[in-house]
Symmetry: C2
Subunit: 344 residues, 2 copies
């Protein structure tokens, strides 16, 4: 297997990313290769600095970089030599078989990854619009949220396919025998929500092989009542970031109160906080797959640490080995072939 990593993506690139790649080698077999995509000189320098010499490491030269703040469409168009575009290219079927990567990973500009991924890899047959699937810790086991930002204004058929692909992901990658699929809405009552939401509900409800459990409200998101939560990319992204910001604010507030009210408690509270972080660690999976492209792309958090990237290497390898894309393509074809429900 061949995995390619954009070494220029993320807040602490290329250092954190390269360190993550070195650590990730342990998840690869002797026949696997890890392609480091970025400026050749800088990569070679870091390799020799760290005394890393592993025959499984390759360099794919990409002299240009897309910054975190750049407009995705414009950057992807104007920077064909950037690490993100080169990475997406070698992860696509446009590449010769011997240089093609089975999976690619970037912690860079999310929008640019999505744009480059769709442009280079194209879509799985039958998929209308790719979506980002994030595996979130929920205090009750893992949960998949899709879309987390690729498609801010989806149609009902896009959301429906996020349900189908998310369900396949939960079954294959997370090993859930019968994932419960829910649709994020502003209320759990049937009458709530926009026209698109109701249309998506009707589609999901009528789809064989989907255990559709109904609407879910934000309030219940972390209470373990669903395994796959379908939402649009705007809301999904905002929710994820809100959750992230709020969790960190709560722990800061706790620290502040402890310092004020009971400073001696600090030492004893630390292991508690550490245990919670360990159980709810977004670094565990390393990144979020872009579901629906004809290839395997994982988008890692901008603040990825070396262990995040090492975990992403482990997860993408599993993803490819388990045939997640093949299963998604099979399910999408199967469901698209069904008669669509008459306007319910």
């Amino acid at each position: 297997m061949r995995i390619a990593v954009d070494v220029m993506g993320g807040d602490d690139a290329p250092d954190a990313i390269l360190k993550g790649c070195f650590a990730g080698l342990e998840h690869l077999s002797p026949e696997d290769t890890l392609a480091l995509v970025g400026p050749r000189g800088a990569i070679e320098e870091t390799l020799s600095e760290h005394g890393v010499d592993d025959a499984r490491l390759e360099i794919v030269d990409a002299p240009d970089v897309i910054d975190m703040g750049e407009s995705p469409a414009m950057a992807v168009r104007s920077k064909p030599d950037s690490s993100i575009v080169r990475m997406a290219y070698i992860g696509s079927h446009r590449t010769d078989l011997e240089t093609r990567a089975d999976a690619v990973i970037s912690a860079g500009n999310t929008g640019a990854c999505v744009t480059a991924g769709i442009m280079q890899m194209k879509r799985l047959p039958g998929v209308h619009r790719p979506g980002i699937a994030v595996v979130m810790p929920s205090f009750h086991g893992d949960m998949i949220l899709c879309d987390a930002g690729a498609n801010p204004e989806p149609k009902a058929t896009h959301l429906w396919q996020y349900g189908i692909m998310g369900e396949a992901l939960a079954r294959k990658l997370l090993g859930m025998p019968k994932p419960r699929v829910a649709l994020l809405n502003i209320g759990s009552e049937e009458g709530k929500g926009t026209g698109i939401i109701k249309e998506t509900r009707d589609l999901l409800r009528a789809t064989p092989g989907i255990d559709y459990v109904g609407y879910i409200e934000g309030r219940s998101l972390f209470s373990g009542v669903a395994d796959v939560v379908v939402t649009d990319g705007f809301l999904g992204n905002a929710m994820l970031k809100t959750a992230e910001g709020l969790a960190s604010s709560i722990f800061k507030a706790i620290t502040q109160e402890i310092v004020e009210l009971d400073p001696e408690l600090m030492l004893r509270f630390e292991p508690i906080a550490r245990a919670i972080y360990a159980k709810n660690d977004y670094h565990t999976y390393g990144g979020a797959p872009l579901l629906g492209v004809n290839g395997t792309m994982f988008i890692a958090h901008g603040s990825s640490e070396p262990r995040t990237i090492a975990n992403a290497i482990r997860t993408t390898r599993q993803y490819v080995s388990l045939g997640v894309n093949e299963e998604m393509a099979r399910r999408v074809a199967e469901c698209e072939a069904l008669e669509q429900p008459v306007d319910a």
Copy 2:
């Protein structure tokens, strides 16, 4: 001043609501009256049970009830004798001056409150669509989020007016001299977001008297960088509920870890948690005003406790005394009169 409370709204109605009304009397002057809207018999019974006899209390008989799960539009149309519809009616200018309430409060079905409010009270001159403004604690002082659920699919002009009305609310009710207004988006870069978001940004930026500080991401929502956050009702509602669910999940997770790792810590952690709750208590304001209706309606949380309702009575009284609606109407008229920016 006359304030009307729907005693049948909320999970613990009518008991918790009536107790809240009794407690709320302390916020009223001797000339004020508090109208209890609900089934006369049940209210009289509770009054005598609690030995409450206050000349400022009145009963407005409303024999019917709209349940939490009912479809708002249908329920409001088919239940003219429900406490929500009666309450909205007496809070409107359709009522005779002597029976008219200056403000109304309900912890009932939010959608029904919004529907009844708009139908009965009509809109402030110039306002396109009313929106719910929630005052949220943010670890850095209070923050207003608007819309929190009244208008799930707003146009840019609706969002723009939420900024204008929210700014007036922050200035008048929260006493902020120059509230910072931000627009919730999936990124802080200018290129991010949907067409409606960009159109709203252009409108807000071109509006005199608005300190528009740019896009805000969910991640920064609780970090004190904005005083008024504008968003659509779908996202606003989902965010609020997610925040609520997550905060409660985190405290549950902490309790669980403490019990497992260091049970003796429990007693010492409790005051810390209490201090944080006290500083971030959604009961403080008692409810969320429906901005833009020609009247004053506060919508309280479904799980309102007696103190929530007492606080809502205090807050609505301030809201009316401070002339918040008048200020919003003045600002909306002033801004609507401006030349609209040419397609930016």
